[in-house]
């Protein structure tokens, strides 16, 4: 089986990529999704707040993705759900398995990787104690409540103030559970400010910054957790330990881009984003393979996910249409003081003018500027009243104006105003 473009993952990134590629005139497009339905993680996000930038209205997750799905179903884009991609090769062969078609090898001219991310688990942060039932990642609990109709518990502690944790604090409260508190290791929350207000403050749920769970108790079902304040080095202060009885611990401690396929394929990864290293077209180190959405770097707003899907689609379409395999020349973006990562990591200087930059800062900054330098000369600057690690910063730079040459480094940093 052969396609021009195969999109791996039918979440918002993959949907936007497929639709855009179609709009750009590509004919032979296949979306492969392992779930039985399209929509990705949005299917379980039944709360409001999606699409404020893109559609200028507040939609629920399913409403947002349905806008794309409806359009896609009106095109000749092929969709194969309930199908898992097992391997992607450098030669752009995709090995997939499904109940209906068995094991197939699919050949593509270009591939867009849009596999999304998974949640970090208890293991990744080494919480000692017993291993009872009742410890869930927030997304799993969200799935149980919103999609399966079951309550994972009634007396809850939430560790991590990422958006999913905040949203679940409200959701569990509305379902009649008691949410004791939300604990956050850092001295600031990683969640969106609007979520802190709407999900915690409005329900009088305390947010304890600089706190963590230091022990899990209970043999069969969770019975309680010991929590403690942490010092500047994030080490628990034992005098501050308190025991909170609870039957449920939700973890909202970060998302990890789901890059097993990418890594196995031999695509270069960025240790900062844990996603592929890409240029401004979201092309990876293997030509013709593109990456976008949460698999590339974790986004907080789905609007940017869709936007990035479209960028990758245009890249893929141009790749398929142009036969020239000329050598590419790159300049690089470099995160300096205050910046935790930048996407894209490199800029193909033989290509289009506008480059969209996404970056995140490493802590909370107020009244600051983000500046970009090439060889000590300032090429970009913008003022911000407040920047937090939880809210991605996005802006464009005009490559034409920069006259970038090969191997140039554009260094971005946070400066005082």
């Amino acid at each position: 089986m052969k396609y021009d473009l195969v999109v791996v993952g039918g979440g918002p990134a993959g949907l936007a990529a497929a639709l855009k590629a179609h709009q750009e005139g590509l004919e032979d497009i296949l979306i492969i999704e392992r779930d039985t339905v399209l929509g990705g993680i949005l299917n379980q996000c039944i709360h409001n707040g999606f699409g404020v930038h893109k559609f200028k209205e507040e939609l629920t997750g399913p409403e947002y993705s349905q806008k794309y799905i409806d359009k896609i179903l009106n095109t000749n884009i092929q969709v194969q759900t309930d199908t898992m991609v097992l391997h992607v090769t450098k030669e752009k062969e995709l090995h997939v398995i499904s109940a209906s078609q068995g094991y197939q090898v699919i050949y593509a001219k270009a591939v867009v990787l849009a596999m999304g991310c998974r949640e970090r688990t208890r293991g990744a942060i080494n919480i000692p104690g017993t291993r009872p039932a009742g410890v869930f990642t927030a997304g799993t609990a969200q799935r149980f409540i919103n999609l399966e109709g079951y309550m994972p518990g009634k007396n809850v502690v939430i560790l991590g103030s990422g958006d999913i944790g905040l949203i679940m604090a409200r959701r569990m409260t509305l379902e009649g559970a008691k949410v004791n508190c939300v604990l956050e290791l850092m001295p600031y929350s990683n969640g969106l400010t609007r979520n802190i207000v709407q999900c915690l403050d409005d329900y009088n749920i305390p947010l304890k910054l600089s706190h963590s769970v230091v022990k899990i108790h209970g043999k069969n079902r969770l019975e309680g957790v010991t929590i403690a304040q942490v010092d500047k080095q994030l080490k628990p202060i034992s005098e501050t330990e308190i025991y909170i009885p609870c039957d449920t611990l939700l973890l909202s401690i970060g998302l990890i881009p789901e890059n097993e396929l990418t890594r196995e394929c031999g695509i270069e990864l960025d240790i900062r984003t844990k996603g592929a290293t890409v240029d401004q077209n979201r092309e990876t180190s293997i030509t013709g393979i593109f990456s976008c959405g949460n698999v590339l770097h974790v986004h907080d707003l789905v609007d940017y996910v869709s936007e990035e899907g479209e960028i990758a689609a245009i890249g893929a379409v141009n790749y398929i249409k142009s036969n020239k395999k000329s050598k590419k020349e790159f300049a690089y973006t470099v995160p300096m003081e205050g910046i935790s990562y930048i996407v894209p990591q490199k800029i193909n200087i033989g290509d289009q003018d506008k480059t969209n930059i996404y970056l995140r800062v490493n802590k909370v900054y107020e009244q600051c500027v983000i500046s970009g330098y090439i060889n000590n000369s300032k090429i970009y600057t913008k003022k911000y009243t407040k920047l937090t690690p939880g809210e991605m910063v996005s802006f464009n730079i005009d490559k034409g104006k920069l006259s970038l040459s090969e191997q140039d480094q554009i260094k971005f940093k946070i400066e005082e105003e």
Partner: protein
């Protein structure tokens, strides 16, 4: 009345059950938990040891080497998976080298064939990523790794198919000695038996006490572990021990049978036989000590931490004997290398039974082979497609981390010792054993359990009774159902 009742379904009880199923006798295994291999046998290093460090002249010394030599055939018959990856005891000083020679001599006396002292180059060629300060090692090509619970389950299933009955969820509470038999009382049943084999692990002392034999006391000794994402697989290839010194064994690094890197264990005496919690001190100790072998490890790549309890005694050897109470056989204090020794222990126990007067006539219907759960991953494309065509459930991936299909999970629910809990499914079909630790697949696995076993979703346990995953329906879904 049965001929033999085996108390405890860890690797030892399951091995004995399988060995005894070769004879025309009636055997029952009594286990307090909801699954076999749910105690120490599920939380250990999973190593089939060479047998050089168990002291010559002890039961451990001889049974470990014997046991090791039996694993290849057992795996050919039962297909639980055995990776003979070899082991190194790494030396980092001349003192260490002296100690290695002691181990070597001891190993030779124990009868190990493939054992040699190797130089730095040999080690680094096989293990290029370890601490370059290594000076030499003791290499044992016969050591390997298994998944301990898959081994125990396979033994139990083969025993079950050959006629052994398993009474799970039955905790032995008392034993009465009658004239020619025993009456075992569990929290649910009464079992009359002519012989008893006590292999109750941490509780083997208490079971022994039930017939008035106060021969030994178990002091639980905890060992903690950290298990890593498969991203780390290939960083090391063999089992890597550190040279023991001053009574301390150091921390080992090993691949698991399924290819995850694992580090551990420490050794702490504790009081509570149920306390399998991990501790911040314990985990910190591992992280500190392992640096000798691997200089830097990224702990954010850890996927789980766990601990197991050794059934230690102050005699430091296994206790395998007919007790003063005739026809009551103690198989106690089976700490490390109990996993390796288990098939040899089983043979030894059958001889003890014979000596104690039980007639062991070969059962000619005994079938030594077990058909394992189909592993879709291991089939070639042609066979995969043939299988999926016949049964599409083998094409639907449920556990994405370990690529386990619906077909494999359904099989796990209908095996000779069927899985009924999430943990039991995980131990048979690996769903939930991967990097997301069931975050993604547990709702789906629960759906499958619900459909296949007709078990209400709210009653599905993680492991033991009252470890239910969900506690209620949501308000909305209740409205729908009203």
């Amino acid at each position: 009345m049965v001929d033999v009742a085996i108390i405890g379904a860890g690797v030892v009880g399951c091995s004995i059950a399988r060995e005894l199923s070769k004879y025309s006798i009636t055997v029952s295994v009594i286990e307090k938990d909801s699954d076999v291999s749910n105690g120490t046998s599920k939380a250990n290093s999973g190593i089939v040891h060479g047998g050089y460090d168990s002291k010559f002249g002890t039961l451990k010394g001889s049974l470990c080497v014997q046991g090791n030599s039996m694993f290849k055939d057992l795996n050919d018959q039962l297909h639980f998976g055995f990776n003979k990856c070899g082991s190194f005891v790494l030396a980092f000083s001349s003192d260490d080298m002296v100690e290695l020679h002691h181990l070597y001599e001891n190993g030779k006396k124990n009868g190990i064939k493939n054992l040699e002292i190797v130089d730095r180059e040999f080690v680094l060629k096989k293990e290029p990523n370890i601490n370059q300060e290594v000076v030499g090692a003791l290499y044992c090509a016969d050591a390997g790794v298994i998944s301990p619970w898959e081994y125990a389950i396979a033994m139990a299933e083969n025993a079950a198919l050959n006629g052994v009955s398993f009474l799970l969820n039955n905790k032995v509470t008392s034993i009465a000695k009658k004239e020619n038999h025993f009456t075992i009382q569990t929290d649910k049943n009464t079992i009359n038996t002519r012989y008893i084999i006590n292999c109750a692990g941490l509780y083997s002392d208490e079971i022994s006490n039930m017939v008035g034999v106060n021969r030994f006391k178990i002091r639980p000794r905890k060992g903690e572990y950290i298990l890593f994402d498969k991203e780390y697989s290939g960083l090391t290839n063999s089992i890597l021990f550190q040279t023991p010194n001053n009574g301390s064994k150091g921390v080992l690094v090993t691949p698991t049978y399924h290819g995850n890197m694992m580090i551990g264990p420490n050794a702490e005496y504790i009081c509570d036989k149920e306390d399998t919690s991990t501790t911040s001190q314990g985990l910190a100790t591992l992280q500190h000590k392992v640096q000798k072998t691997l200089k830097s490890i990224d702990y954010s790549k850890a996927i789980t931490q766990f601990s197991g309890l050794r059934a230690a005694t102050d005699t430091y050897d296994f206790i395998i004997e007919e007790s003063q109470v005739k026809q009551f056989i103690n198989v106690g204090a089976i700490d490390s290398p109990g996993l390796t020794s288990s098939p040899a222990i089983a043979v030894m126990v059958s001889k003890l039974l014979l000596n104690a007067g039980l007639k062991l006539k070969k059962d000619h219907t005994f079938n030594p082979n077990l058909t394992p759960i189909i592993k879709v991953n291991e089939l070639n494309i042609h066979d995969k497609n043939k299988l999926i065509k016949k049964d599409p459930r083998y094409g639907r991936v449920i556990c994405r981390c370990e690529s386990m299909t619906q077909g494999e999970i359904v099989e796990a629910l209908h095996r000779p010792i069927p899985a009924t809990t999430l943990d039991a499914v995980k131990r048979r079909a690996r769903a939930g054993a991967g990097r997301c630790q069931g975050g993604f697949c547990s709702p789906r696995v629960m759906e499958i359990i619900n459909e296949e076993l007709d078990l209400p979703v709210l009653d599905i346990n993680k492991s033991e009774d009252k470890s239910n995953i969900l506690i209620d329906k949501t308000k909305k879904s209740m409205e729908v159902h009203l």
